[in-house]
Symmetry: D2
Subunit: 344 residues, 4 copies
């Protein structure tokens, strides 16, 4: 059994990695770390692990030393040093933070306020969206796992962009996310009595997923893509639904578009293109690594609406990270990820 | 005290009218009707009225006979006959249904599948959005109260359209509504275990508010306005938030746009234009007749994003209906509607 | 207009006091204070007050100086010094905290870990549950407003205790409260993703409302009453529902008990004794100062079950405080409190 | 692979059986049935099964004919005929309804309003709570799977009753359940806008789980046990938490009680006795077959409070049914049921 470790194990994404990896038959969680909870059992922090695992939070260095594959689930800005250490030890890093997502240092500085620390590591890392660049991922050892919103949007638009079917100057991405996306850190915005029975956008025009989405979409289209992106906070625990508005280059036949999507994704285990008439909803992908996509026209028939939905904690974070690990290790891509959504 | 009556009193909108009118100091609820519950006390149907009112559901004819102003809160298709009767009796009808919202019979038939029954009544009726056409409303006795989604969108766009500041060929309206908007009728979509922890769009390209929105926006702009409208169902009870995307005709200065909105709405009791930097949220308007509007630019600065939020049951239905009644009766527009949102 | 002030205005209870007092026709809010937000507008902290009030947070001394009636909505341990100052200035204090609720200093020390600071003030203060001791309240100037859980339980049991109808050695009080009861302070327990879709008891055997409930019930019964009290946290914003189990002294006739309750509360504006067969629910009292009570037998007919429900923020805090103020000032008890619950 | 079938596959419990059995490595779902949806794919009814299974609803007879083990998830009153047919075919029936839960025909008639149809089948059936009577279950072919509330209460009290430590004349069981417990059938009580932000008890003194609980507790205690049971409906999807109040026979040492529970359940895979000081909560068992139990004293130390929590759809229905199947088939009891609760 291959040994994997998790740095930042006590955040929501770290805990989800533990939960999913406990059911992975080819790897074993050898070590986990947490700065805030070093020395404590994970089952005393997350009671759902009571009776399930005895893992104790160690420090980062121990995790890197003991494991072959290291997952880092940390706030941005903390992964570069880890990557340097992992790299020296010739191990594999799957980074769920933002440090290696942007290729352009200028953009990184603009949106994150700091420069690249180890430029060479950035060159040898890859933004790993399996459905887009699976083959290239295999050759890398520093993996930038995509953000949650970007995953939903990039998968939703990929077939159109690869086939140059839409205008690229202003794709509207109106996204809505459950509360786990905001993490375990206490904020007034995530205080129960504030978020419950409430709904609103945030970070309009300033959310750090914007450059990531534009970079990946441009990479897919092989041309500059411009978006408008508005994230909203939903009073639910999990799930992202992105409603994407774009304008076709020429007259649209929705059945052809639908066929294109079905063909494009026909070998993908985690992508469901719904039948025409059906509408994607968060419930049907919750607790899975799936992305459900439905396709629609506006009432005049001159605008395309794509609805793309994922579980932000799984396909939008921990699940996709495991999918990327499976790819790198040459395992079956669905290993540990054959999850069926609950009916309710 | 003027006598008012409510036809369709046992639906959510009817019950909300009762609740609000009980606190109105210039009118008294003289009679209510319900087909399903004729003869029953409203307080046995809605327990929140226990000890508050002894109103008993009668039939429509009695309501019309006894009252000076009649509110109709019915599914579409049932108000025309009522209007005919109200008109004959020379009384006032405020219709919260869709029967009198569309001026164009062709459009009405296209979206609602039926023709106008009494064409003359349609001519003498008015689509009554006070902030748009307050003066004209005063002269009418058949009032089409705007739909909930349309209200949020029309108020959000009015200052831009009146000043010809944006392109009219495709305004994107991404709207989200709480569950009361779907009414009290039982459906799987509104079954608790189905909607809770879920989120998705519905009626894409086919929602009947589309022609209403386009008609009103075109009326405001005095030019044809085309929209793409996608409604979504939120797992909350009340509130609508519309995120509206439009493209300025010329370079945008957000401060000027903000000033324009503030000036435009400065005498309006129910419209709050938030300060730049603030973002409208459902919580702040819940249980009020207010519409809160916030203004934003996308990250490139070339796209405008307007966030407009109302309580779908109040400014989106019962509250606006009372506002319209106040206007017609020459009362203070805020009478019975000085509602302060709860903090939680 | 009498001048009232609120110390601790930026907590949930303080904000609810503002909201309710803004609609009170006989008093005006002259000043508010907050340690954390001194100098800030309340409408910048609670956006629902935007456009409604321009009140600015001052300091405590200013509030006491400017106002005739002072409400204190503070964590326990902070009200005694305020009471001393209010007393010296011969004004009225309505304390929504716990400092003056327990008469017995030994009990206070046992549960709160500190002694009385000003013993004489405790003697001249009163635990003010209007339905129990309305007449006495009028003579006092330091008012201990009851806790939220205690209010629901005391009102639920009063008619039985006054008539010596039940055993007093172990009344089971199983109470459930919405999240606002835990306040605005950030805790993991109130973090959205933790509380949502969750439910559990807390403070079993140790909640500080226990001695308060036992003291008041014993005072009502004029004999020692022993309870077992378990509070639970509900994933809703507002409302408390207490399910109370007690054993009759003799054979029970539920119709007689029901008649007893109806007679006992027949002159009370805020207490609704539901008809036999109906069951009290939180929804029907939310956003009101009401307490709804329903009466039941267990399946053997030998045990009484009382369901008592209030809005924890209103009858359980701000509303009852205003009711107490009305009593002291000789105003109509319902002034500012004629609130109708929403249907949803 | 053994063939299993599900009759009543389109209710919530039936669908949960499908979801769980799809991950069972020793059995395969051979057929499912539904009266309402005969001929339809399950994935068109529950979209979460899209791309996961092609099962089509057949009729009952086909399910019985094709399968070795038949699960029936039907409203009460429909299982006896199925049992007769299964019995004739010498197959195994695991009934998730109430038809075989009560041994006493008089009680059955009192609570369900009908007599036993096949008395001999009742004699050869067993009420199957594995932690109570695992060995006996193995010898039976008609299995009455316990109800959801009863499971939580029986597991919570078993160690006390087996050791005669508490008074049996009136154990108070205050239970709270999520909305899935009410099923998929549309009712006003489960309408989103009615249940959301609401909470109340129902079926006080009349819920049909009462005789089941008293029968099983009496069977465990080998003496008549009397309870008072009050179920409440929680605004969450899943989970039951029962707060159980009982009085010890003699002075209580909570540490000894705790040790007793730990010892009693030490070999049980699905029962977690929490450490003293911890409190059971629904979140920690959601989506698992576990029952978490925490033990508490009231503030006087003379009353025991047991908090017992399960997922009503799993340990309270589908999971326990699979556990019972595993027992009968001689499989590992945890097969298909190694589920880890999500952190949120």
């Amino acid at each position: 059994m291959l040994k994997v470790g998790i740095i930042g194990a006590t955040g929501y994404v770290g805990a989800e990695l533990i939960r999913l990896l406990l059911n992975h038959s080819k790897v074993t969680i050898e070590a986990i770390s947490s700065i805030s909870y070093e020395g404590e059992e994970i089952s005393s922090i997350y009671k759902n692990f009571y009776g399930v695992t005895n893992l104790i939070c160690e420090n980062q260095e121990e995790v890197i030393e003991k494991c072959d594959v290291i997952f880092a689930a940390l706030p941005h800005g903390l992964s570069e040093e880890i990557a340097e250490l992992v790299n020296k030890n010739n191990k594999i890093l799957i980074d769920l933070g933002a440090d290696f997502r942007l290729n352009n240092e200028y953009e990184y500085e603009r949106w994150y306020g700091k420069k690249f620390l180890y430029k060479n590591l950035h060159k040898s890392s890859i933004y790993a969206l399996p459905e887009h660049n699976r083959e290239k991922i295999k050759e890398h050892k520093i993996i930038a796992n995509p953000g949650c919103y970007p995953t939903s949007i990039e998968l939703g638009l990929m077939p159109l962009l690869k086939n140059s079917l839409i205008k690229l100057d202003n794709i509207i991405c109106d996204s809505k996310s459950g509360a786990t996306g905001a993490g375990r850190g206490l904020t007034l915005k995530s205080h129960y009595a504030e978020l419950n029975e409430n709904f609103s956008p945030y970070g309009i025009g300033s959310h750090r997923h914007i450059p990531e989405i534009e970079q990946c979409l441009s990479d897919i289209a092989e041309e500059e893509v411009k978006i408008t992106f508005t994230p909203h906070l939903l009073p639910i625990n999990r799930g992202i639904l992105s409603t994407i508005y774009c304008t076709p280059n020429k007259e649209v036949n929705i059945k052809e578009i639908h066929k294109l999507y079905c063909d494009f994704y026909k070998n993908e285990s985690f992508i469901n293109v719904l039948e025409l008439g059906d509408i994607a909803s968060i419930k049907d992908v919750k607790y899975t690594n799936n992305c459900n996509i439905s396709l629609h026209l506006n009432h005049r028939g001159d605008g395309l609406i794509i609805v793309s939905t994922i579980d932000n904690m799984i396909k939008g974070a921990a699940g996709q990270a495991i999918q990327n690990m499976n790819i790198i290790l040459g395992l079956k891509e669905t290993e540990g990820l054959k999850l069926v959504a609950t009916c309710n």
